[in-house]
């Protein structure tokens, strides 16, 4: 909200290397145009129904697999002790990571007054909510007795039993549920003014009633806006440590264990960076097609993509250096178990996974040093797919090789996912995209109110526009 734009004109809207705070939407002239264009995107199309159908189908595959697994037992998955965690935990961490970009964009960049967040944050935040929604399923899926999951939640019960609060898994429960609650609230709060817009533009009485309820009777009054702004600020201030803590806690699942390859103090920052990295990639995967199909190029401009690309490049460098620090520490620690594991990581039975990880997460993102590629949506889209792949394999490399080569050589083993694991992987994507597709056709995927905020207001001839904002602002 508070990203007040400094005066600036860029007729082509293509000027490279704009300071991200200065990103403007020259092609967006008036409030009415915003309403019209954004609300225009909400009309369902055949393509959309096709996508939704596909997503639901994938989700059903996952659901079927879950039923099957609950009936027979977890043995239907590819676990091969001592590899007791596999695709489920990998995918869990993957989706949690995806979630982080949204909160980063909507909260942290908000605190940092980064202008380029304005038009993409809504999509990113929705992505966050649905990604966490997806991730939240996997801890339940992966336990042996899912029907007992509620034992991880502290509540008064006749067994007089409580969770064991020293366990990272309980921290997970708290972190993930808090994260889901807060980010959902955050998304919804941001949506209220836009829903009010929909409410007032809606002609269909039924939909209007629904919007009316959802908008909670929002009236755009100055009083509402005032508290709204403060609250939004504080929520952002809360979400910022939250987003950092959540993936740190997830990384504790590994770092708190003494398993070689897990027991590392570098994990929290390393995981957070990786999460933001993968999250931004997913933002591209989502926003680039949308912007193309719905002709929103003048909202999500190349300047926006450029700015996000810089973030991706930075996080990629962080993650890359983390990889090398791990190897260095293994060598420096002089712990044979550790050293053997890391040797096995790159040259052992899963060398290919490690190299996929290194290629996708370190080498390919280097291309973003070139401004041309940073401003090339096609390349960014392709790259985003590679990064998603790479980040999934990063988690694979962390989970599986570590467990398969632990202290006890007699118990060294192999691991191969089964068709059930794969069904869950597919199902998770189906589940995620089902929600996302439903979202983008019901609610504005670009924040109407915020876009209005950064386009200069209509003024009477007497005072020049900048005077107004200068006289009003700061």
């Amino acid at each position: 909200m508070a990203t007040i734009a400094r005066p600036y004109s860029d007729p082509a809207g293509q000027r490279p290397n704009v300071p991200s705070a200065d990103i403007q939407l020259p092609a967006v002239k008036s409030y009415e145009q915003v309403d019209e264009e954004i609300i225009g995107t909400l009309r369902p199309t055949g393509k959309w129904f096709l996508g939704l159908g596909l997503a639901i189908f994938c989700m059903l595959i996952g659901a079927a697999a879950w039923t099957y697994q609950i009936y027979w037992g977890l043995g239907q998955a590819g676990y091969e002790p001592p590899v007791m965690w596999g695709v489920y935990i990998i995918t869990f961490v993957f989706w949690v990571g995806i979630g982080h970009a949204g909160t980063l964009i909507s909260a942290i960049l908000y605190l940092f007054r980064a202008g380029f967040r304005t038009t993409i944050y809504r999509a990113a935040e929705a992505m966050t909510v649905f990604a966490v929604l997806t991730a939240g399923l996997f801890p339940i899926i992966h336990i042996g007795r899912p029907w007992k999951f509620f034992w991880l939640i502290p509540y008064p019960n006749w067994r007089l039993l409580w969770p064991q609060f020293k366990s990272p898994l309980v921290w997970d429960v708290f972190a993930i549920s808090t994260y889901l609650t807060i980010s959902t609230t955050f998304l919804y709060i941001g949506l209220i003014p836009d829903i009010a817009v929909l409410r007032d533009r809606e002609t269909n009485p039924v939909r209007r009633q629904i919007f009316a309820v959802l908008s909670l009777g929002w009236r755009n009054s100055e009083r509402e806006w005032r508290h709204f702004a403060r609250a939004y600020l504080f929520l952002a201030a809360f979400s910022t440590p939250l987003v950092l803590s959540v993936h740190s806690v997830v990384s504790f699942d590994f770092a708190m264990a003494l398993t070689p390859g897990w027991h590392a103090t570098i994990f929290p920052p390393y995981f957070v960076a990786g999460a933001i990295f993968s999250g931004f990639a997913m933002v591209w995967t989502i926003i680039i097609p949308i912007r193309k199909w719905w002709n929103l190029q003048h909202y999500v401009t190349l300047n926006h993509l450029d700015a996000t690309a810089k973030v991706v490049l930075f996080t990629s460098l962080v993650v890359g250096s983390a990889y090398f620090i791990e190897f260095f520490i293994a060598w420096y620690s002089n712990v044979p178990v550790e050293q053997e594991y890391f040797w096995n990581r790159v040259f052992g039975q899963w060398w290919w996974a490690a190299w996929i990880m290194l290629t996708c997460n370190m080498i390919l993102p280097m291309s973003l040093f070139s401004q041309k590629l940073r401003r090339n949506p096609t390349w960014l889209f392709i790259l985003s797919l590679f990064i998603n792949l790479g980040m999934w394999f990063e988690r694979f490399v962390i989970v599986v090789p570590s467990l398969s080569h632990e202290f006890e050589p007699w118990q060294w083993s192999d691991y191969a996912p089964s068709w059930v694991d794969m069904s869950f992987l597919i199902g998770s994507f189906g589940w995620f995209f089902m929600w996302f597709l439903l979202f983008i056709k019901q609610l504005p995927v670009v924040a109407i109110a915020e876009v209005k905020e950064i386009i200069p207001p209509k003024l009477r001839g007497t005072v020049d526009s900048h005077g107004a904002s200068a006289h009003g602002g700061h």
Binding site: Y68, W72, G73, L74, G75, Q76, Y79, E80, P81, P82, M84, W85, P139, H142, I143, G144, R145, W147, K148, F149, W151, L152, L161, W162, P163, Q164, K166, S167, P168, L169, V170, V173, D253, M256, A257, L258, T259, P336, V337, E340, L403, E406, F407, E408, P409, W410, Q411, W412, S413, S418, W419, V420
Partner: protein, 1047 residues
């Protein structure tokens, strides 16, 4: 409720259901049936059982010929556990895996439910009346031709052979063949010739040097358990322990326990013996040439032998010259003055006397093939499987008009029979055995028959009219049995039922003809038997059978030496140490138990030396075909360091075509590729008689192995020290770096239940709510620290502890073909051991077998066995990661796993450095799942004190907490504290090496407390500060003069 409980539907409650009827009426399953109720138990529950409290019955193990004494724990009318009988001279309380698995023979789901008769192709159930009538009539029809009748009985000592022969005599049938394919007849014959007894006692403790030429005295050569006990004692002498050199083509379990291995080609043993003795023709050089080994090794051995003083040479080859080799060994022992010192013919084991030879069986086959044999009986033995198919036993049998089987199981031989009169299991019936001269081991029923079977002995007496056979009474030496008098002893006498009138066929299933017959032959009668049953032992000797001996079979020409046969590899076959020649294959515990050497289960493998294998492009799991002049077998290859490069080896025991769901179609039978050859002198079946061609078939089959890496990677799991290190003086400053000092600091972890105590956490008077962890808490639980020591110098890797754990803790077997996972929505992985290929075996205690040295693929490598179980850490890494307190540290120092609280995150296993936690991937305990591990009536064996785990929960070693609690209950009832060494865990109880000791390490009066401070003691991964409660004692390396062995 299986979904809401950590356990599944059946188990303890079944017992309570039974309980409702226990007192209620005879006939229902329970202790109250005539045959069991009035037996005198071993412990102090004389006359009646108390529901929920076990009775203990002393009886005799019939799983092998040795006849060890066992004690059956019976709960509410069901035998649930077998343990060694401490009073028995042979096994002294120990018991092997085979013995443990007798229970799965008793409750085997594939046992015959009752008598069967052949109608056309099918066997159909009939009544006992009909069956006996049929038998009588057919025998009467046969008339005088019965002089050619044949009865093959599983070899056993005791009175039954006498009864049998006498019955046969009444029918004019010659004496029975007492055949056991597991016996090493070459050695037995040689012993008879050299020492006059079938099996002298071998005293390892007296020797300074043990030389074994293919004599696998820890696997199947002789009576394994007593030999192992004695061998372990010898090794426990540490610096005074004998050095052990093993000569043979393959390092068996025995060979792996040797300090040095001299690999030789099969068939070259005789030359080596002659060379060693300097007798005969062969020189060292020739012997080395024949053996394909460095002459220096043999020379070194010869020199060592001369210098050793007290030594022993044991020979147990299975070639065509087996007896010659054994005789040479005997001669060498004579020459070296070992007889009477380490080899004691004076106190023999009598179990192997009067065993029929393979030659006798061949004679029978020839006789049957000629069509003269009118009737063929078989009981227990399974010659159709244990003899090479080349012999054509089945074909010959087909020429016999009337074939009767008394076996309980649908094995290959029995399925060829026309009439099946299933015998009781040994645990259901009376009997006796002669383990050593002058002492008789008694066998008594421990429970009601599971099925509608009838003891053969009763039938025989019945068929001949009861008392008719009371000749040749037991020669009682006058000594009374060591038993304790208990009230109610006279009750037994009153139970003696009068024998029925001659010829009468009564149908009441509960006669005790044989029991009464036995009573009738014991001076003192019922009372004497009653008191003797306290220990299951009575002084005396079993009378000899005075039966007509069968005509000796025509001798065969001596075979060509194996080296002359055609082929590029020597083909070596050996009985499996677990399955023998096949009798164990129908017991899931034994199928599931990984072979002590190869660590492979549910599968037959081909051992081949790595260097030769890689030359042929063969690697582990590649399918390999072995072709001989006789036939060919295909199996996955197992690259094994411990085999002579010119040799390939295969284990016997698997490859059944029948014998029940757990045996049929699992593995291959190497006998297919062996000619029906025998040792011309001893008449023993010769296994290693031919070379073979080895070809890579091209296919691949995952090895069903429990082994991850065979190397320790310097992680010090199974540690050893040299004698020099052991003798090094102890300097006590920062001692743990100095050899010979307990190599660990965190002793506090042993002194107090919670290692944190050592760190002052709970010792802090201000720390709140220590509850039961407070040493001041009235229960004084916090003063105990249950712990265990494992002496690696004693452990031989025999894996008896593993089976004991399965039996005690209701551990499911997961390797059966129907227990695998789905490979697609429609197909299942139905390979035997599919779950084990995925590493999902549930062995709470496992034996890790690590190789040291031999990186050059030479013969000079050392083997370390390390039993690995939950270490019950004082600082357990598994505990703090559990989100629901499903695992925590109990005040008496146990790392507890609460099944019904577990939600199955498996985080604990990830965080366990020892990887001793096991997960229920499927509903192994749920009858309505295909992976169900206890098909009726196997579930009768389940221990009612231990929860059967449902799917989705973690489980692990509990230090037999149910036994701890039971002891506490007993102590409280008697108003005292648990006394030192009052009880022990199942693994420690069974261990035939006495390597495992359990107890309270915080109380110096327990023996474990002293052992834990032994100089050899160390913690595995002690540097992780887990404060483990399991303390290992380093094994000792005995380097030979010629051979450097790395520490």
């Amino acid at each position: 409720m299986s979904t809401t409980s950590g356990s599944s539907g059946l188990k303890r409650r079944e017992f309570l259901k039974v309980l409702g009827a226990t007192g209620a009426a005879a006939g229902t399953v329970g202790c109250s049936s005539d045959s069991v109720e009035r037996l005198i138990p071993y412990l102090n529950h004389p006359d009646q059982t108390v529901p929920g409290v076990s009775n203990y019955y002393a009886t005799t193990c019939r799983e092998c010929a040795a006849g060890c004494g066992v004690i059956a724990e019976v709960r509410d009318g069901r035998a649930i556990k077998l343990e060694g009988n401490p009073a028995h001279p042979l096994n002294q309380g120990a018991i092997c895996s085979k013995g443990q698995a007798a229970l799965q023979g008793l409750y085997n789901p594939d046992r015959f439910r009752g008598p069967m008769m052949r109608e056309g192709e099918r066997l159909v159930p009939i009544t006992w009346d009909r069956a006996l009538q049929e038998l009588n009539t057919r025998l009467d029809q046969a008339g005088p031709a019965l002089a050619n009748g044949v009865f093959i009985n599983q070899h056993e000592s005791g009175s039954f052979p006498v009864v049998l022969d006498q019955w046969l005599a009444t029918r004019g049938i010659p004496g029975h063949l007492s055949y056991d394919a597991d016996l090493n007849l070459g050695t037995i014959a040689a012993h008879r010739q050299a020492y006059g007894v079938a099996w002298p006692t071998i005293d390892f403790t007296q020797a300074r040097l043990i030389v074994s030429v293919g004599a696998d005295f820890l696997d199947d050569w002789g009576a394994a358990v007593p030999q192992q006990l004695n061998f372990a004692d010898a090794r426990a002498q540490l610096q005074n322990a004998p050095r052990f050199v093993y000569v043979g083509p393959r390092r068996s379990l025995t060979g792996l326990n040797a300090d040095q291995w001299i690999p030789c080609r099969p068939g070259s043993e005789l030359a080596i013996m002659q060379a060693l003795g300097g007798t005969g023709t062969a020189s060292i050089a020739q012997a080395a040439e024949a053996a394909g080994v460095e002459p220096t090794l043999l020379q070194g051995l010869a020199d060592e032998l001369r210098g050793a003083g007290r030594s022993m040479i044991l020979a147990g080859t299975r070639g065509a010259d087996a007896m010659e080799v054994a005789l040479a060994a005997a001669a060498l022992n004579q020459a070296l003055g070992n007889v009477g010192v380490t080899i004691l013919p004076g106190s023999p084991a009598t179990a192997f006397e009067r065993a029929a030879s393979y030659a006798d069986v061949r004679g029978v086959v020839e006789q049957m093939a000629s069509g003269q044999v009118p009737v063929f009986f078989v009981r227990g033995a399974n010659p159709a499987f244990t003899t090479p198919p080349a012999l054509g036993f089945a074909a010959a049998m087909a020429r016999v008009p009337f074939k009767v089987s008394f076996s309980s199981y649908p094995d290959e031989t029995t399925l060829l029979c026309d009439l099946i009169l299933p015998d009781h299991h040994a645990l259901e019936s009376w009997g006796d055995a002669q383990p050593v001269p002058g002492l008789i081991g008694l066998q008594q029923p421990t429970m009601d028959p599971v099925f509608n079977t009838r003891p053969t002995a009763d039938l025989l007496l019945l068929l001949t009219g009861g008392g008719a056979l009371s000749a040749a009474p037991l020669a009682i030496s006058g000594a009374t049995s060591p038993g304790v008098e208990v009230p109610g002893a006279a009750a037994l006498g009153s139970q003696v039922v009068p024998a029925p009138a001659p010829g009468a066929v009564t149908t009441t299933p509960r006669e005790h003809l044989y029991r009464d017959w036995l009573i009738g032959r014991i001076p003192g009668g019922a009372a004497a038997l009653t008191s003797a049953l306290q220990t299951g032992l009575i002084a005396g000797n079993v009378g000899q059978s005075a039966a007509a001996v069968r005509p000796a079979p025509a001798p065969v020409a001596a075979l060509p030496a194996i080296a002359q046969t055609e082929g590029d590899f020597f083909f070596h076959i050996y009985p499996s140490p677990l399955l023998g020649t096949g009798s164990g294959a129908n017991k899931p515990w034994l199928q599931e138990l990984a072979d002590p050497v190869s660590k492979i289960a549910w599968q037959t493998w081909i051992e081949i030396h790595p260097t030769r294998a890689w030359d042929m492009g063969i690697d582990n799991g590649d399918l390999v075909t072995i072709t001989t002049g006789t036939g060919s077998v295909t199996a996955p290859a197992y690259l094994y360091l411990g085999i002579h490069p010119d040799t390939v080896a295969m284990p016997l025991g698997r490859g059944h075509t029948a014998y029940g769901r757990y045996a049929a179609g699992i593995g291959v039978n190497p006998l297919i590729a062996v000619p029906a050859a025998e040792d011309a002198q001893s008449g023993g079946l010769a296994y290693s008689v031919t070379k073979c061609r080895v070809t890579k078939t091209g296919g691949f089959d995952d090895l069903v192995t429990t082994e991850g890496s065979a190397r320790q990677h310097g992680r010090g799991i199974a540690q050893a020290m040299t004698v020099a290190e052991l003798m090094a003086p102890v300097t006590d400053d920062h001692g743990h770096d100095i050899p010979g000092v307990p190599s660990y600091e965190p002793l506090p972890g042993l002194r107090s239940p919670v290692a944190a105590d050592a760190q002052g956490e709970l010792a802090d008077p201000d720390s709140k709510d220590k509850g039961m962890y407070d040493p001041q808490h009235w229960s004084k639980m916090a003063s105990r620290r249950w712990a265990m020591t494992i002496d690696l110098a004693r452990c031989t890797g025999c894996s008896a502890c593993v089976t004991a754990c399965y039996a005690e803790n209701n551990i499911p077997t997961v390797g059966a073909p129907w227990q695998g996972r789905a490979t697609s929505p429609l197909t299942w992985d139905e390979r035997p051991g599919a779950n084990i290929v995925k590493g999902r075996e549930m062995t709470w205690i496992r034996i890790e077998r690590y190789f040291e040295g031999g990186e050059d693929y030479g013969s000079n490598f050392d083997t370390r066995f390390a039993p690995m179980l939950c270490q019950h850490c004082g600082n357990a890494p598994c505990e703090p990661v559990c989100p629901v307190y499903a695992t925590y540290h109990s005040p008496d120092g146990l790392n507890v796993q609460v099944y019904n609280r577990c939600v199955g995150t498996r985080y604990c296993s990830n965080n366990c450095p020892y990887k001793v936690r096991y997960f229920n991937w499927f509903g192994y305990g749920e009858p309505n799942r295909r992976q169900y591990a206890f098909p009726e009536p196997l579930n009768w064996q389940l221990n009612p004190d231990v929860t059967v785990r449902g799917k989705g929960v973690m489980e692990k070693c509990t230090f037999c907490v149910q036994r701890i609690r039971e002891a506490e209950h007993r102590a409280v009832a008697e108003g005292r504290l648990v006394e030192a060494d009052e009880f022990t865990t199942a693994c420690a109880q069974a261990c035939p090496s006495r390597a495992i000791v359990f107890g309270d390490a915080a109380d110096a009066t327990w023996s474990v407390a002293q052992l834990a401070t032994d100089r050899r003691a160390y913690h595995v991964f002690g540097d992780l500060s887990t404060y483990t409660a399991v303390v290992y004692l380093k094994s000792i390396i005995h380097p030979g003069p010629a051979t450097p062995v790395q520490a």
